[in-house]
Protein backbone atom coordinates (compact mmCIF):
# COMPACT_ATOMS: atom_id res chain seq x y z
CA UNK A 1 0.00 0.00 0.00
CA UNK A 2 2.92 2.26 0.77
CA UNK A 3 4.08 1.81 -2.78
CA UNK A 4 0.79 3.06 -4.13
CA UNK A 5 0.88 6.14 -1.91
CA UNK A 6 4.46 6.82 -2.95
CA UNK A 7 3.50 6.48 -6.60
CA UNK A 8 1.43 9.66 -6.41
CA UNK A 9 4.27 11.77 -5.11
CA UNK A 10 6.54 10.03 -7.56
CA UNK A 11 4.21 10.97 -10.39
CA UNK A 12 4.14 14.59 -9.29
CA UNK A 13 7.93 14.64 -9.11
CA UNK A 14 8.19 13.19 -12.59
CA UNK A 15 5.88 15.79 -14.06
CA UNK A 16 7.62 18.61 -12.21
CA UNK A 17 11.00 17.45 -13.46
CA UNK A 18 9.98 18.34 -16.99
CA UNK A 19 11.81 15.29 -18.28
CA UNK A 20 11.89 15.53 -22.07
CA UNK A 21 11.79 11.78 -22.59
CA UNK A 22 8.70 11.46 -20.43
CA UNK A 23 6.88 14.20 -22.29
CA UNK A 24 7.86 12.66 -25.57
CA UNK A 25 6.34 9.38 -24.44
CA UNK A 26 3.15 11.03 -23.21
CA UNK A 27 2.81 13.02 -26.43
CA UNK A 28 3.25 9.92 -28.57
CA UNK A 29 0.68 8.02 -26.50
CA UNK A 30 -1.85 10.78 -27.04
CA UNK A 31 -1.05 11.09 -30.75
CA UNK A 32 -1.44 7.38 -31.37
CA UNK A 33 -4.60 6.83 -29.32
CA UNK A 34 -6.35 10.01 -30.38
CA UNK A 35 -5.58 9.29 -34.03
CA UNK A 36 -6.98 5.81 -33.63
CA UNK A 37 -10.11 7.23 -32.00
CA UNK A 38 -10.55 9.71 -34.85
CA UNK A 39 -10.25 7.04 -37.52
CA UNK A 40 -12.42 4.55 -35.65
CA UNK A 41 -15.07 7.24 -35.17
CA UNK A 42 -15.07 8.24 -38.85
CA UNK A 43 -15.49 4.60 -39.82
CA UNK A 44 -17.50 3.31 -36.88
CA UNK A 45 -20.30 5.85 -36.59
CA UNK A 46 -21.63 5.41 -40.14
CA UNK A 47 -21.17 1.64 -39.81
CA UNK A 48 -23.11 1.47 -36.56
CA UNK A 49 -25.86 3.74 -37.87
CA UNK A 50 -26.20 1.75 -41.08
CA UNK A 51 -26.58 -1.52 -39.18
CA UNK A 52 -29.05 0.07 -36.78
CA UNK A 53 -31.31 1.46 -39.45
CA UNK A 54 -30.85 -1.05 -42.26
CA UNK A 55 -32.81 -4.21 -42.80
CA UNK A 56 -30.89 -6.97 -44.57
CA UNK A 57 -30.40 -10.72 -44.28
CA UNK A 58 -27.97 -11.73 -41.57
CA UNK A 59 -28.45 -8.47 -39.70
CA UNK A 60 -28.81 -10.13 -36.31
CA UNK A 61 -25.71 -12.24 -36.88
CA UNK A 62 -23.72 -9.14 -37.71
CA UNK A 63 -24.95 -7.40 -34.57
CA UNK A 64 -23.91 -10.33 -32.39
CA UNK A 65 -20.55 -10.48 -34.15
CA UNK A 66 -19.96 -6.77 -33.72
CA UNK A 67 -20.79 -6.93 -30.03
CA UNK A 68 -18.48 -9.92 -29.58
CA UNK A 69 -15.62 -8.11 -31.34
CA UNK A 70 -15.69 -5.48 -28.60
CA UNK A 71 -13.84 -8.08 -26.57
CA UNK A 72 -11.03 -8.58 -29.09
CA UNK A 73 -7.86 -9.32 -27.16
CA UNK A 74 -5.37 -6.54 -27.93
CA UNK A 75 -2.48 -8.95 -28.24
CA UNK A 76 -4.35 -10.94 -30.89
CA UNK A 77 -5.08 -7.77 -32.84
CA UNK A 78 -1.42 -6.85 -32.56
CA UNK A 79 -0.36 -10.22 -33.88
CA UNK A 80 -2.71 -10.14 -36.86
CA UNK A 81 -1.77 -6.58 -37.81
CA UNK A 82 1.89 -7.52 -37.39
CA UNK A 83 1.50 -10.40 -39.83
CA UNK A 84 -0.21 -8.07 -42.29
CA UNK A 85 2.37 -5.29 -42.07
CA UNK A 86 5.46 -7.50 -41.87
CA UNK A 87 7.72 -7.48 -44.91
CA UNK A 88 6.81 -11.11 -45.28
CA UNK A 89 3.13 -10.19 -45.26
CA UNK A 90 0.73 -8.73 -47.83
CA UNK A 91 1.15 -5.08 -46.82
CA UNK A 92 4.87 -5.24 -46.16
CA UNK A 93 5.69 -2.87 -48.99
CA UNK A 94 4.08 -0.03 -47.04
CA UNK A 95 6.97 -0.19 -44.59
CA UNK A 96 4.67 0.64 -41.70
CA UNK A 97 5.85 -1.99 -39.24
CA UNK A 98 7.61 -0.66 -36.13
CA UNK A 99 6.28 2.85 -36.72
CA UNK A 100 3.60 4.86 -34.91
CA UNK A 101 1.45 4.43 -38.02
CA UNK A 102 1.28 0.70 -37.38
CA UNK A 103 0.26 1.39 -33.81
CA UNK A 104 -2.55 3.64 -34.98
CA UNK A 105 -3.76 0.95 -37.37
CA UNK A 106 -3.74 -1.72 -34.68
CA UNK A 107 -5.58 0.45 -32.19
CA UNK A 108 -8.12 1.52 -34.79
CA UNK A 109 -8.88 -2.13 -35.52
CA UNK A 110 -9.16 -2.78 -31.80
CA UNK A 111 -11.61 0.00 -30.96
CA UNK A 112 -13.63 0.14 -34.18
CA UNK A 113 -16.02 -2.59 -32.95
CA UNK A 114 -16.50 -0.79 -29.63
CA UNK A 115 -17.46 2.49 -31.25
CA UNK A 116 -19.57 0.86 -33.95
CA UNK A 117 -21.43 -1.49 -31.59
CA UNK A 118 -22.21 1.20 -29.01
CA UNK A 119 -23.25 3.57 -31.77
CA UNK A 120 -25.48 0.89 -33.24
CA UNK A 121 -27.24 0.46 -29.93
CA UNK A 122 -27.67 4.19 -29.41
CA UNK A 123 -28.99 4.76 -32.93
CA UNK A 124 -31.32 1.77 -32.69
CA UNK A 125 -32.78 3.10 -29.45
CA UNK A 126 -33.20 6.57 -30.90
CA UNK A 127 -34.62 5.17 -34.13
CA UNK A 128 -37.68 4.00 -32.19
CA UNK A 129 -38.40 7.64 -31.44
CA UNK A 130 -37.41 9.20 -34.73
CA UNK A 131 -38.37 6.69 -37.39
CA UNK A 132 -42.00 7.57 -38.01
CA UNK A 133 -41.49 11.31 -38.02
CA UNK A 134 -38.48 11.15 -40.33
CA UNK A 135 -40.22 8.85 -42.77
CA UNK A 136 -43.27 11.07 -42.68
CA UNK A 137 -41.09 14.04 -43.67
CA UNK A 138 -39.56 12.01 -46.46
CA UNK A 139 -36.17 11.16 -44.99
CA UNK A 140 -35.08 7.63 -45.83
CA UNK A 141 -32.08 5.34 -45.55
CA UNK A 142 -28.77 7.17 -45.42
CA UNK A 143 -30.33 10.60 -44.98
CA UNK A 144 -32.41 9.45 -42.02
CA UNK A 145 -29.52 7.55 -40.42
CA UNK A 146 -27.23 10.60 -40.63
CA UNK A 147 -29.93 12.85 -39.19
CA UNK A 148 -30.35 10.56 -36.19
CA UNK A 149 -26.59 10.24 -35.81
CA UNK A 150 -26.17 13.99 -35.62
CA UNK A 151 -29.11 14.36 -33.28
CA UNK A 152 -27.73 11.90 -30.73
CA UNK A 153 -24.19 13.26 -31.02
CA UNK A 154 -23.80 13.87 -27.29
CA UNK A 155 -24.76 10.31 -26.37
CA UNK A 156 -22.24 9.10 -28.94
CA UNK A 157 -19.58 10.84 -26.94
CA UNK A 158 -19.79 8.02 -24.41
CA UNK A 159 -19.09 5.47 -27.13
CA UNK A 160 -16.12 7.49 -28.32
CA UNK A 161 -14.72 7.81 -24.81
CA UNK A 162 -15.07 4.07 -24.36
CA UNK A 163 -12.93 3.63 -27.45
CA UNK A 164 -10.37 6.13 -26.19
CA UNK A 165 -10.18 4.39 -22.84
CA UNK A 166 -9.51 1.05 -24.46
CA UNK A 167 -6.88 2.46 -26.80
CA UNK A 168 -5.02 4.44 -24.15
CA UNK A 169 -4.99 1.48 -21.78
CA UNK A 170 -3.85 -1.31 -24.02
CA UNK A 171 -0.31 -2.54 -24.43
CA UNK A 172 -0.62 -5.88 -26.24
CA UNK A 173 -1.28 -4.47 -29.69
CA UNK A 174 1.12 -1.54 -29.72
CA UNK A 175 4.02 -3.47 -28.32
CA UNK A 176 3.92 -6.07 -31.08
CA UNK A 177 3.39 -3.78 -34.06
CA UNK A 178 5.44 -0.92 -32.67
CA UNK A 179 8.35 -2.86 -31.22
CA UNK A 180 8.61 -0.56 -28.19
CA UNK A 181 11.58 1.18 -29.82
CA UNK A 182 13.21 3.72 -27.56
CA UNK A 183 12.43 7.21 -28.79
CA UNK A 184 10.30 6.01 -31.69
CA UNK A 185 7.43 3.74 -30.70
CA UNK A 186 7.58 3.76 -26.94
CA UNK A 187 4.31 4.87 -25.34
CA UNK A 188 3.07 5.08 -21.77
CA UNK A 189 1.70 1.58 -21.51
CA UNK A 190 4.72 -0.09 -23.08
CA UNK A 191 7.01 1.96 -20.84
CA UNK A 192 5.06 0.83 -17.79
CA UNK A 193 5.40 -2.77 -18.97
CA UNK A 194 9.11 -2.27 -19.53
CA UNK A 195 9.77 -0.72 -16.13
CA UNK A 196 7.74 -3.45 -14.46
CA UNK A 197 9.79 -6.10 -16.20
CA UNK A 198 12.96 -4.35 -15.07
CA UNK A 199 11.67 -4.54 -11.55
CA UNK A 200 11.37 -0.77 -11.14
CA UNK A 201 7.88 -0.93 -9.71
CA UNK A 202 7.76 2.58 -8.18
CA UNK A 203 8.54 4.16 -11.54
CA UNK A 204 6.00 1.94 -13.27
CA UNK A 205 3.32 2.91 -10.78
CA UNK A 206 4.11 6.60 -11.10
CA UNK A 207 3.80 6.38 -14.85
CA UNK A 208 0.52 4.57 -14.30
CA UNK A 209 -0.73 7.44 -12.17
CA UNK A 210 0.20 9.91 -14.91
CA UNK A 211 -1.58 7.83 -17.56
CA UNK A 212 -4.75 7.50 -15.52
CA UNK A 213 -4.71 11.21 -14.69
CA UNK A 214 -4.54 12.16 -18.35
CA UNK A 215 -7.45 9.89 -19.26
CA UNK A 216 -9.36 11.27 -16.28
CA UNK A 217 -8.85 14.84 -17.43
CA UNK A 218 -10.02 13.99 -20.94
CA UNK A 219 -13.13 12.31 -19.57
CA UNK A 220 -13.92 15.21 -17.26
CA UNK A 221 -13.60 17.67 -20.13
CA UNK A 222 -15.84 15.56 -22.35
CA UNK A 223 -18.45 15.24 -19.63
CA UNK A 224 -18.46 18.98 -19.04
CA UNK A 225 -18.85 19.57 -22.75
CA UNK A 226 -21.76 17.16 -22.90
CA UNK A 227 -23.51 18.79 -19.94
CA UNK A 228 -23.14 22.27 -21.40
CA UNK A 229 -24.40 21.14 -24.77
CA UNK A 230 -27.39 19.37 -23.29
CA UNK A 231 -28.36 22.49 -21.43
CA UNK A 232 -28.14 24.45 -24.64
CA UNK A 233 -29.80 22.03 -27.05
CA UNK A 234 -32.12 20.01 -24.86
Amino acid sequence: MQEIAKSFSGAAALIASGDATLFGIVLLSLEVSLSAVLLATLLGLPLGAAIAVGRFPGRRTIIVLLNALMGLPPVVVGLVVYLLLSRAGPLGALGLLFTPGAMVIAQTVLILPIIAALCRQAVEDAWLEYEEQLRSLGAHGVRAALTVLWDIRFSLLTAILAGLGRAAAEVGAVIIVGGNIDGVTRVMTTTIALETSKGDLPLALSLGVILISIVLVINAAAYGLKEAAQRRYG
Binding site: E129, Y130, Q133, L134, G138, R232, Y233
Partner: protein
Protein backbone atom coordinates in the same frame (compact mmCIF):
# COMPACT_ATOMS: atom_id res chain seq x y z
CA UNK B 1 -54.04 17.18 -56.90
CA UNK B 2 -53.30 14.04 -55.01
CA UNK B 3 -56.87 13.72 -53.69
CA UNK B 4 -59.13 11.83 -53.80
CA UNK B 5 -57.63 8.92 -51.91
CA UNK B 6 -59.31 5.55 -52.38
CA UNK B 7 -59.07 2.62 -49.97
CA UNK B 8 -60.44 -0.70 -51.29
CA UNK B 9 -60.93 -3.63 -48.87
CA UNK B 10 -57.90 -2.59 -46.85
CA UNK B 11 -56.85 -4.86 -43.99
CA UNK B 12 -53.95 -4.72 -41.60
CA UNK B 13 -52.87 -7.73 -39.60
CA UNK B 14 -50.19 -7.60 -36.92
CA UNK B 15 -49.07 -10.46 -34.67
CA UNK B 16 -52.01 -12.56 -35.81
CA UNK B 17 -54.57 -9.93 -34.93
CA UNK B 18 -56.64 -8.07 -37.52
CA UNK B 19 -56.38 -4.44 -36.53
CA UNK B 20 -58.09 -3.09 -39.62
CA UNK B 21 -60.70 -5.25 -41.31
CA UNK B 22 -61.71 -4.72 -44.91
CA UNK B 23 -62.19 -0.96 -44.90
CA UNK B 24 -63.24 0.72 -48.11
CA UNK B 25 -63.60 4.48 -48.22
CA UNK B 26 -62.88 7.55 -50.28
CA UNK B 27 -61.24 10.70 -48.94
CA UNK B 28 -62.28 13.83 -50.84
CA UNK B 29 -61.13 17.40 -50.62
CA UNK B 30 -63.16 20.16 -49.14
CA UNK B 31 -64.19 19.14 -45.64
CA UNK B 32 -62.51 18.19 -42.40
CA UNK B 33 -62.81 14.48 -41.64
CA UNK B 34 -62.59 13.30 -38.04
CA UNK B 35 -61.88 9.66 -37.27
CA UNK B 36 -63.56 8.69 -34.02
CA UNK B 37 -63.41 5.51 -32.05
CA UNK B 38 -62.50 3.97 -28.75
CA UNK B 39 -58.92 3.06 -27.84
CA UNK B 40 -57.82 0.09 -29.89
CA UNK B 41 -60.42 0.67 -32.60
CA UNK B 42 -57.65 1.17 -35.14
CA UNK B 43 -57.61 4.96 -35.63
CA UNK B 44 -53.84 5.36 -35.47
CA UNK B 45 -53.21 2.39 -37.75
CA UNK B 46 -55.71 3.64 -40.29
CA UNK B 47 -54.04 7.07 -40.38
CA UNK B 48 -50.61 5.50 -40.84
CA UNK B 49 -51.92 3.31 -43.62
CA UNK B 50 -53.35 6.34 -45.41
CA UNK B 51 -50.17 8.38 -44.91
CA UNK B 52 -48.03 5.52 -46.18
CA UNK B 53 -46.11 4.72 -43.00
CA UNK B 54 -47.59 1.22 -42.96
CA UNK B 55 -48.26 -1.14 -45.85
CA UNK B 56 -51.65 -2.88 -45.90
CA UNK B 57 -51.81 -6.66 -45.45
CA UNK B 58 -54.64 -6.77 -47.96
CA UNK B 59 -56.50 -4.45 -50.30
CA UNK B 60 -55.26 -1.33 -52.08
CA UNK B 61 -54.63 2.30 -51.19
CA UNK B 62 -54.52 4.66 -54.17
CA UNK B 63 -53.92 8.36 -54.39
CA UNK B 64 -54.99 10.35 -57.41
CA UNK B 65 -51.53 11.71 -58.15
CA UNK B 66 -47.85 11.65 -57.23
CA UNK B 67 -46.74 13.93 -54.43
CA UNK B 68 -44.98 12.56 -51.40
CA UNK B 69 -44.59 16.00 -49.95
CA UNK B 70 -48.15 17.02 -50.55
CA UNK B 71 -49.12 15.18 -47.38
CA UNK B 72 -47.93 15.90 -43.88
CA UNK B 73 -48.60 14.27 -40.54
CA UNK B 74 -48.60 15.54 -36.99
CA UNK B 75 -48.25 12.88 -34.30
CA UNK B 76 -49.56 12.70 -30.78
CA UNK B 77 -46.04 13.22 -29.50
CA UNK B 78 -44.10 15.69 -31.61
CA UNK B 79 -40.60 14.57 -32.52
CA UNK B 80 -38.18 17.46 -32.83
CA UNK B 81 -34.55 17.38 -33.86
CA UNK B 82 -31.86 18.57 -31.49
CA UNK B 83 -31.59 21.96 -33.14
CA UNK B 84 -33.40 25.30 -33.13
CA UNK B 85 -37.10 25.62 -33.88
CA UNK B 86 -36.23 27.37 -37.12
CA UNK B 87 -33.78 24.65 -38.11
CA UNK B 88 -36.44 22.00 -37.63
CA UNK B 89 -38.62 23.72 -40.20
CA UNK B 90 -35.79 24.35 -42.67
CA UNK B 91 -34.88 20.66 -42.36
CA UNK B 92 -38.33 19.69 -43.58
CA UNK B 93 -38.11 22.23 -46.39
CA UNK B 94 -34.74 20.83 -47.44
CA UNK B 95 -36.23 17.34 -47.64
CA UNK B 96 -39.02 18.75 -49.77
CA UNK B 97 -36.46 20.06 -52.23
CA UNK B 98 -36.83 23.75 -51.50
CA UNK B 99 -33.85 25.87 -52.55
CA UNK B 100 -31.40 26.73 -49.79
CA UNK B 101 -31.84 30.44 -50.46
CA UNK B 102 -35.57 30.37 -49.79
CA UNK B 103 -35.73 27.96 -46.87
CA UNK B 104 -35.18 30.43 -44.07
CA UNK B 105 -37.75 32.94 -45.27
CA UNK B 106 -40.40 30.28 -45.73
CA UNK B 107 -39.59 28.79 -42.35
CA UNK B 108 -39.92 32.15 -40.64
CA UNK B 109 -43.26 32.70 -42.31
CA UNK B 110 -44.51 29.36 -41.05
CA UNK B 111 -43.31 30.07 -37.50
CA UNK B 112 -45.01 33.46 -37.58
CA UNK B 113 -48.22 31.78 -38.65
CA UNK B 114 -48.33 29.77 -35.41
CA UNK B 115 -46.98 32.55 -33.21
CA UNK B 116 -43.57 30.96 -32.64
CA UNK B 117 -41.36 33.50 -34.42
CA UNK B 118 -39.93 34.93 -31.16
CA UNK B 119 -38.76 31.40 -30.29
CA UNK B 120 -37.16 30.74 -33.67
CA UNK B 121 -33.63 30.35 -32.26
CA UNK B 122 -34.68 28.44 -29.14
CA UNK B 123 -33.66 24.78 -28.96
CA UNK B 124 -36.75 22.91 -30.11
CA UNK B 125 -36.40 20.21 -27.47
CA UNK B 126 -36.63 22.64 -24.59
CA UNK B 127 -39.96 24.05 -25.77
CA UNK B 128 -43.13 23.12 -23.89
CA UNK B 129 -45.42 20.37 -25.15
CA UNK B 130 -47.84 22.87 -26.62
CA UNK B 131 -45.05 24.87 -28.26
CA UNK B 132 -43.54 21.73 -29.79
CA UNK B 133 -46.89 20.71 -31.20
CA UNK B 134 -47.31 24.19 -32.67
CA UNK B 135 -43.84 23.81 -34.13
CA UNK B 136 -44.89 20.50 -35.66
CA UNK B 137 -47.82 22.29 -37.27
CA UNK B 138 -45.54 25.08 -38.48
CA UNK B 139 -43.28 22.45 -40.01
CA UNK B 140 -46.28 20.95 -41.77
CA UNK B 141 -47.57 24.37 -42.82
CA UNK B 142 -44.27 25.26 -44.47
CA UNK B 143 -44.72 22.33 -46.83
CA UNK B 144 -48.13 23.63 -47.98
CA UNK B 145 -49.58 20.15 -47.98
CA UNK B 146 -52.80 19.16 -49.67
CA UNK B 147 -53.62 16.74 -46.88
CA UNK B 148 -52.78 17.09 -43.19
CA UNK B 149 -53.07 13.99 -41.02
CA UNK B 150 -53.27 14.57 -37.28
CA UNK B 151 -53.13 11.64 -34.85
CA UNK B 152 -54.68 12.78 -31.55
CA UNK B 153 -52.65 15.99 -31.66
CA UNK B 154 -53.92 17.43 -28.37
CA UNK B 155 -54.19 14.25 -26.29
CA UNK B 156 -51.15 15.26 -24.21
CA UNK B 157 -51.87 18.98 -23.92
CA UNK B 158 -53.63 21.15 -21.39
CA UNK B 159 -56.79 23.06 -22.39
CA UNK B 160 -54.94 26.30 -23.15
CA UNK B 161 -52.45 24.62 -25.48
CA UNK B 162 -55.30 22.58 -26.98
CA UNK B 163 -57.12 25.77 -27.91
CA UNK B 164 -53.99 27.14 -29.59
CA UNK B 165 -53.56 23.97 -31.64
CA UNK B 166 -57.21 23.96 -32.66
CA UNK B 167 -56.85 27.54 -33.87
CA UNK B 168 -53.99 26.52 -36.15
CA UNK B 169 -55.91 23.50 -37.45
CA UNK B 170 -58.82 25.75 -38.30
CA UNK B 171 -56.40 28.01 -40.17
CA UNK B 172 -55.20 25.04 -42.23
CA UNK B 173 -58.80 24.14 -42.96
CA UNK B 174 -59.63 27.69 -44.01
CA UNK B 175 -56.60 27.73 -46.32
CA UNK B 176 -57.98 24.71 -48.16
CA UNK B 177 -55.89 21.92 -46.66
CA UNK B 178 -57.77 18.64 -46.29
CA UNK B 179 -57.85 17.75 -42.59
CA UNK B 180 -57.92 14.09 -41.51
CA UNK B 181 -57.75 13.92 -37.73
CA UNK B 182 -58.29 11.28 -35.11
CA UNK B 183 -59.40 12.07 -31.61
CA UNK B 184 -61.41 10.67 -28.80
CA UNK B 185 -62.40 14.05 -27.55
CA UNK B 186 -66.03 14.29 -28.69
CA UNK B 187 -66.30 18.02 -28.08
CA UNK B 188 -63.18 18.62 -30.18
CA UNK B 189 -64.64 16.49 -32.97
CA UNK B 190 -67.71 18.70 -32.93
CA UNK B 191 -65.63 21.87 -32.93
CA UNK B 192 -63.31 20.99 -35.78
CA UNK B 193 -65.04 18.35 -37.90
CA UNK B 194 -67.36 18.46 -40.89
CA UNK B 195 -67.81 14.70 -41.09
CA UNK B 196 -67.19 11.80 -38.76
CA UNK B 197 -65.74 8.40 -39.67
CA UNK B 198 -66.51 6.08 -36.78
CA UNK B 199 -64.31 3.02 -36.30
CA UNK B 200 -65.18 0.05 -34.13
CA UNK B 201 -62.91 -3.00 -33.82
CA UNK B 202 -61.12 -2.20 -37.04
CA UNK B 203 -64.19 -1.68 -39.18
CA UNK B 204 -65.69 1.53 -40.53
CA UNK B 205 -69.08 1.26 -38.89
CA UNK B 206 -70.56 4.67 -39.63
CA UNK B 207 -69.80 7.75 -41.69
CA UNK B 208 -71.95 10.86 -41.43
CA UNK B 209 -71.87 14.65 -41.31
CA UNK B 210 -70.95 15.80 -37.81
CA UNK B 211 -74.36 17.09 -36.70
CA UNK B 212 -76.27 14.03 -37.83
CA UNK B 213 -73.69 11.70 -36.24
CA UNK B 214 -74.08 13.21 -32.82
CA UNK B 215 -77.84 13.82 -32.95
CA UNK B 216 -78.90 10.62 -34.66
CA UNK B 217 -76.15 7.97 -34.75
CA UNK B 218 -77.25 5.21 -37.14
CA UNK B 219 -75.35 2.34 -35.49
CA UNK B 220 -75.66 0.89 -32.03
CA UNK B 221 -71.91 1.04 -31.49
CA UNK B 222 -71.80 4.72 -32.34
CA UNK B 223 -74.70 5.43 -30.05
CA UNK B 224 -73.00 3.58 -27.20
CA UNK B 225 -69.74 5.40 -27.85
CA UNK B 226 -71.35 8.79 -27.73
CA UNK B 227 -73.07 7.86 -24.50
CA UNK B 228 -69.64 6.91 -23.18
CA UNK B 229 -70.27 3.25 -22.67
CA UNK B 230 -67.37 1.94 -24.73
CA UNK B 231 -64.20 2.81 -22.88
CA UNK B 232 -62.04 0.09 -24.44
CA UNK B 233 -62.56 -2.28 -27.31
Amino acid sequence: MILPLRLEEVSFVARGRAIIERISLGVEAGHASIILGANGAGKSVLMRLMHGLLAPSGGTIKWNGEGRHKQAMVFQRPVMLRRSALANVTYALALAGVDRAEREAQAREALAGVGLLPLAQRAARVLSGGEQQRLALARAWALHPEVLFLDEPTANLDPGATREIETVIKAFDAAGTKIVMSTHNLAQARRLGDEILFLHQGRLVERAPVDRFFKQPASAEAAAFIKGELPWV
